[in-house]
């Protein structure tokens, strides 16, 4: 019986290791946000419900040849099919020296107007993704803080 329990524990630990890919995300937490310290990905939340998350994706699907725009188009296509309405598309400064593709959407979430955005940076066969979202008013107030913080994002 004990052996079975240990076996399950090993399998769960292995699964956790496989799903959490990439390096620990390092960046300055925006003012008025609190970071969830135990997460490997960068996750932070404000008191009024704005959320921010950055993480790295790599694996056999992400090859070095596929360009950023292809990834962003695929991401947009999927979001739009979920009912997200595109608001803006631009490039923003990320990590001090890089450019990230920024896409912003409006969406009705839990019956309220929300705004959601993501930023994508591609480096070789790794994707660095930042997601930001929250109630419309609160998001707009904190948008500059969040995008400013992305400038301190350490992309190895």
């Amino acid at each position: 019986m004990k052996i079975e329990i240990y076996a399950y524990a090993v399998v769960i630990a292995a699964a956790a290791l496989l799903t959490s890919c990439g390096e620990i995300q390092v960046m300055k937490t925006p003012d008025s946000f609190a970071r969830f310290d135990r997460e490997k990905d960068f996750r932070a939340a404000s008191a009024d419900g704005v959320m921010m998350k950055t993480y790295e994706v790599s694996g056999r699907d992400v090859d070095a040849k596929t360009d950023e725009k292809t990834w962003v188009d695929e991401m947009e296509r999927t979001l739009v099919s979920k009912g997200y309405v595109s608001l803006s598309r631009k490039e923003i400064s990320v990590g001090g020296t890089r450019k990230g593709l920024f896409r912003e959407y409006t969406v009705i979430y839990n019956g309220e107007n929300y705004m959601y955005s993501f930023v994508l940076v591609k480096k070789e066969s790794r994707l660095y993704i930042a997601e930001m979202g929250g109630p419309e008013k609160a998001y707009k107030e904190k948008k500059d803080l969040m995008t400013g913080s992305l400038n301190t994002w350490v992309i190895p």
Binding site: T78, V80, G83
Partner: protein, 197 residues
């Protein structure tokens, strides 16, 4: 007298084709299929917007709204639809009602003249002739009311636009099964707030 009445009835032309005051008038119907994250919220938003634009709701359910709105409010409704969700499909149908309206108006004019002549005839006729004329007036009045009703219907059609919106939930749009890349399917507010299932 009977001969005179018969001649009068036979002289009524049905389609004179000279009136042109209804040309260029058309009716527009619109159908949309949209994808939204929350159906009930989207249906509520569309109903509120239709009422705001002085439209009427002909039908609604948890996944569809049918409304009739004044032509002046159609742009505002379209904007509301676009901001409520992603438009997956859009169909616009137009019907030219101008010609039909012109014909009906011409028929109405002829019918009015005919009734006026019949009334004049009753003044000069004997009792038997008057009775015949009154019967003809009654028949003509019924026809005139029918024409008026058709004109009103067409004019109302031209003043309003019918809009039918089918509201689909997430995953029911063109991209039915999401992306083949798992992390892309995890994008969005659900995952960001940790409420994904």
């Amino acid at each position: 007298m009977k001969k005179l009445l018969f001649a009068l009835i036979m002289s009524v032309p049905f389609f004179p084709g000279f009136a042109d005051d209804g040309k260029g008038i058309s009716y527009t119907g619109r159908e949309y299929t949209i994808v939204v994250p929350e159906r009930s919220a989207a249906v509520k938003t569309l109903i509120e917007k239709a009422r705001e634009e002085k439209g009427i709701i002909l039908f609604y359910s948890g996944s569809a709204v049918q409304m009739r709105v004044p032509v002046a409010g159609v742009d505002a409704i379209e904007s509301a639809i676009k901001s409520t969700g992603y438009i997956d499909d859009e169909r616009i149908t137009r019907a030219d009602v101008g010609e039909e309206l012109s014909i009906l108006k011409a028929r109405l004019e002829v019918k009015n003249n005919y009734i006026a002549k019949l009334y004049k005839l009753t003044q000069d006729a004997n009792l038997g002739g008057t009775l015949n004329a009154e019967k003809a007036i009654e028949t003509a009045s019924v026809e005139r009311d029918s024409i008026r009703s058709s004109i009103r219907r067409l004019e109302r059609m031209a003043r309003y636009s019918d809009i039918f919106v089918t509201v689909n939930g997430p995953g029911e749009g063109t991209v039915k099964n999401g992306s083949r890349f798992g992390f892309i399917n995890a994008l969005g507010m659900d995952n960001l707030t940790g409420e994904s299932k």
